[in-house]
């Protein structure tokens, strides 16, 4: 049983979220502003917070900043502010994820599940780094078993996809151009105009990202290449 706190000043949105997150595994608590949310978080054993930013009394950013002084539970921002600057600010303050309104219900539930599994199974930290396994965020790559798990669930990858993912995960934060990826994975020089790498990356993204258009891990650096977000 997980305790999830939904904090939004709009009751209709809170109600909708309650309907979507209706699950025997979840116990849902609600708050209508940042202050209430902090109070609840102090009283109850909360496992995850869905937090709006623009709220009366205490806004989401300030509330999170306060919360992070004592807790590292997963927090997902759920806000109408879709500007890049807002997103950066939110993630810098300590949010684990950032979803903009209007949101897709499926995406929100998937993200909630992902954050909970990571937090509960991996203890909210970067997991065990050994010589044979690499993990970034919720993705874990076991080179011995040639297996990849996402938030504990196995992901089925083709050998090429596995190789690309391994290359990127072993060099987190490093940008690889399509040509470099081709050389490293295929051990050959790419021929002329070719979008093979780009297609494989898209397939890979569809398998390991909740929203492939807004990836959390495997990022497209437009005009340069691809990289894995450094989230160890």
């Amino acid at each position: 049983m997980y305790n999830i706190l939904i904090c939004d000043d709009e009751p209709d949105i809170v109600n909708a979220l309650k309907i979507y997150l209706n699950d025997p595994e979840y116990r849902l608590l609600t708050a209508s502003n940042g202050r209430e949310a902090l109070d609840l978080a102090a009283r109850e054993d909360i496992h995850l917070i869905l937090l709006d930013i623009m709220m009366p009394a205490l806004d989401g950013i300030s509330a999170l900043a306060k919360l992070r002084e004592s807790s590292n539970i997963p927090v997902i921002f759920l806000t109408a502010k879709s500007e890049d600057t807002d997103k950066i600010l939110g993630l810098n303050v300590g949010a684990d994820d950032y979803v903009t309104k209007p949101f897709s219900p499926l995406e929100v539930t998937a993200r909630v599940r992902s954050q909970l599994r990571r937090y509960m199974h991996l203890g909210g930290h970067g997991g065990n780094q050994t010589a044979e396994t690499v993990s970034i965020g919720g993705i874990e790559l076991d080179d011995r078993a040639k297996a990849v798990t996402l938030d504990g669930d196995p992901v089925s990858l083709t050998p090429i996809e596995y190789d690309i993912l391994k290359l990127l995960m072993t060099h987190p934060g490093e940008v690889f151009s399509p040509k470099e990826i081709y050389r490293e994975v295929w051990h050959d020089n790419p021929l002329g105009s070719d979008n093979t790498v780009a297609v494989h990356i898209r397939h890979l993204r569809e398998k390991i990202e909740i929203n492939p258009a807004d990836p959390r891990y495997l990022k497209v650096v437009w005009g340069q290449g691809y990289k894995m977000e450094d989230k160890r």
Binding site: P178, G192, P215, W222, K227
Partner: protein, 692 residues
């Protein structure tokens, strides 16, 4: 080759014809004139011949007397030989002053029937006379005339005139080949032709003209071949050619006239005719060349005179330019000298001038000089003060003109009137600063307003989307409810997009976006775009053809913003492309520009212009059918974003072919992007680069 040779032959024939006809014309005119002078048209033939014979006889009579008188001189050709009856047709008997026969080639007077002339012998008197000069001294020489001389001639006086008498006749039928026989034959022949010269002359004149015209037309041309084919002499300047031709002709003529001295009759005529013929040939040749030059339009230009004039003109122009440069440099030097020093130098020059001019006029008045110098120093002080103040004002004005609105002119220590101007200048700066600030503020506020409104709209929109989603999941069993819910879902999603695009369009067009340009590889962009859209295009029934150079094409761009441009253009293709066609995505490097082209075939006829398509809320389908999503902001946003990154987006429509082209300067070709966005509205601090 054949044409060339037949052309040359034709020209040669025409040339000869012109010369011939002209010569004939001249001959006819000359002979007509001669015959008129000789009274051919008024006198019977026999009389003419008799007249001619008589003049010939007179000449002979005189010669015979010469032979008698100066037998020594004519010893080589004595009278008996030269005037033997086998050497001449003349039959003569010469009587001396005493009436005795001095000489004769007639055997017997009785054989008179062998001689011509009805009227019998012609009597020709020959007068011999001696001269006496003014001093009454008798001269040694004797003059022979056919006329009785006057008693006095000039300083000389006639003396001892005696008369010889010659009787002459011609042998019947003129058996000897001599002048008499020749003249008889000539007169007989020419007399018959005396009227024929008129028509012959006229016809030959017309023929000459005709041949001349034909020759001029044929010049520089070839039969049955268009175009001009000037000869090898065409390149020679015309005046030079004319001089080269005329000089030898003149020399020849000079030689001819030199030879002509003392000669008479036919040789003279032949020489004149030869000279005229030569002149005519040379003149005709030159005229042909002139005709060719007129045809090619180079008669004046291809001359030494013209070339010399042009050369002189070029030299003049060059000199003029040089002078102008020198003037500009001097003027620039003058302008570079500060006003203060210019004034000082001018003042000193004026003072020197005064000293020289007035000093010469009033050399003794020393008191005047003291006062004058004081006055000059005071004037100089005032002028320098004003000049310095004006300099400050000028600097302030220039600073304002280039946009340095915070420049402050210090009005301290200026003359009163200039101080007012300085203050006005400062006020202009402040006013303009305020206006610019207000404009920037209003732009910022506009974008902020749209952003904030969008936030406020998004909250209720979230509820609408969520609850319609929930509604669609309820199984009401009512078909209509399901249908209506679908409409709600579709339209609410559209509204969401519209709001996002509206914010983006507003930001992009007002420049309120921060762009951080970093070197990107345009071919990587193409590969990524192809990878992202390959599946979706295939699903829509289109095939993507992508091509880019093998080497990296580096451009300066903001990756995410440029992706938005690609995204919008590819989305457009996805939305409006005809299924079953190919989509071309190509990258080329042209003139240090990376040119990215998107080409596809439109599904619906495109009945709007490319310019209209770029405007906000205009869509390719004029019907605005709600079947296709989109709001007409995509291209406008793409254009604004491209321009913000220093690129250019152009659209072209050719029938159903839709073409969008992106131009970006290749990095390294231009250190600064050509159209770098003006940082007027950007906050100045760039946030870290974000990846999608």
């Amino acid at each position: 080759m054949k044409n060339e040779s037949t052309g040359a032959l034709r020209k040669a024939l025409l040339f000869a014809a012109v010369i011939l006809c002209a010569a004939l014309t001249v001959g006819c005119v000359a002979s007509a004139w001669l015959m008129y002078n000789e009274e051919f048209y008024t006198t019977p033939k026999d009389l003419l011949i008799e007249k001619e014979d008589l003049s010939r006889m007179r000449r002979d009579a005189k010669l015979i007397v010469h032979h008698l008188l100066y037998a020594d001189y004519y010893a080589a050709e004595p009278l008996e030989v030269v005037y033997a009856d086998t050497a001449t047709n003349l039959r003569y008997v010469l009587f001396d002053e005493n009436g005795e026969i001095a000489a004769s080639n007639v055997q017997a007077i009785a054989g008179e029937e062998n001689y011509t002339y009805e009227g019998g012998w012609k009597e020709i008197p020959v007068y011999l006379s001696e001269y006496r000069n003014a001093n009454d001294e008798t001269q040694t020489f004797t003059d022979i005339t056919l006329e009785r001389p006057n008693r006095e001639r000039g300083d000389y006086h006639w003396d001892n005139t005696s008369t010889y008498r010659m009787f002459g006749m011609l042998a019947k039928n003129l058996p000897v080949q001599d002048g008499y026989r020749f003249m008889h034959l000539l007169y007989n022949a020419v007399y018959g032709l005396r009227y024929a010269v008129y028509p012959v002359g006229a016809v030959s004149f017309l023929l000459a003209i005709l041949c001349f015209i034909l020759l001029m037309c044929a010049s520089a041309r070839r039969p049955r071949q268009a175009g001009l084919f000037p000869g090898p002499l065409h390149a020679v300047p015309f005046d030079l050619l004319a001089a080269v031709c005329i000089v030898p002709v003149a020399l020849f003529l000079d030689l001819m006239s030199g030879l002509g001295v003392g000669s008479t009759g036919f040789t003279m005529a032949a020489r004149i005719a030869a000279s005229i013929l030569l002149i005519a040939c040379v003149a005709l040749g030159l005229l042909m060349s002139a005709a060719a030059r007129i045809k090619t339009g180079t008669i004046f230009r291809n001359t030494v005179v013209w070339r010399t004039i042009m050369l002189l003109w070029e030299i003049l122009k060059w000199l003029g330019r040089g002078l102008r440069k020198v003037g500009e440099v001097l003027w620039g030097l003058c302008g570079a000298i500060p006003r203060f020093w210019k004034l000082l130098v001018l003042f000193i020059a004026l003072l020197l001038y005064e000293i020289v001019v007035f000093g010469a006029s009033y050399p003794d008045v020393e008191v005047y000089w003291i006062f004058h110098v004081i006055e000059a120093v005071v004037l100089l002080g005032i002028a320098l003060w004003r000049a310095l103040s004006l300099g400050k004002l000028g600097k302030g004005g220039e600073a304002l003109a280039v946009g340095n609105l915070s420049y402050h002119v210090d009005p301290g220590g200026m003359p009163r009137d200039l101080k007012k101007q300085a203050e006005a200048l400062n006020r202009i700066g402040v006013g303009m600063n305020r206006a610019v600030e207000e404009r920037m503020k209003s732009e910022r506020m506009k974008t902020e307003l749209i952003t904030n409104v969008s936030h406020d709209i998004k909250t209720p929109l979230t509820s609408i989307i969520n609850y319609t989603d929930l509604l669609s999941k309820e199984d009401s069993g009512n078909e209509k409810i399901r249908e209506y819910t679908e409409v709600l879902t579709r339209q609410s999603v559209r509204l969401k997009r519209l709001i996002d695009d509206l914010v983006e369009a507003s930001k992009a067009s007002s420049g309120a976006l921060d762009v951080s340009l970093v070197p990107c590889d345009a071919s990587v962009f193409l590969e990524q775009a192809a990878g992202e859209y390959d599946q979706r295009l295939t699903d829509a029934g289109m095939t993507l053809c992508m091509a880019h150079p093998d080497h990296p094409v580096t451009i300066l761009a903001d990756g995410r913003r440029l992706w938005r441009v690609f995204d919008n253009l590819m989305n457009n293709i996805l939305k409006y492309g005809q299924s079953g066609t190919r989509v071309y995505l190509t990258l080329e490097e042209i003139n240090r520009f990376a040119v990215i082209t998107f080409r596809n075939v439109s599904r619906d006829p495109l009945n709007v212009s490319p310019d209209e398509l770029m405007e906000r809320f205009v869509r390719g389908d004029a019907s605005r059918s709600s079947a296709t999503e989109g709001n007409g902001l995509g291209l406008s946003i793409a254009k604004s974003l491209t321009e913000l990154q220093g690129g250019a987006l152009t659209l072209a429509i050719d029938g159903d072919l839709f073409k969008a082209t992106l131009h970006f300067p290749v990095a390294g070709s231009d250190p600064l992007p050509a159209a770098h966005p003006t940082p007027t509205l950007a906050s100045g601090t760039h946030p870290p680069v974000l990846e999608a």
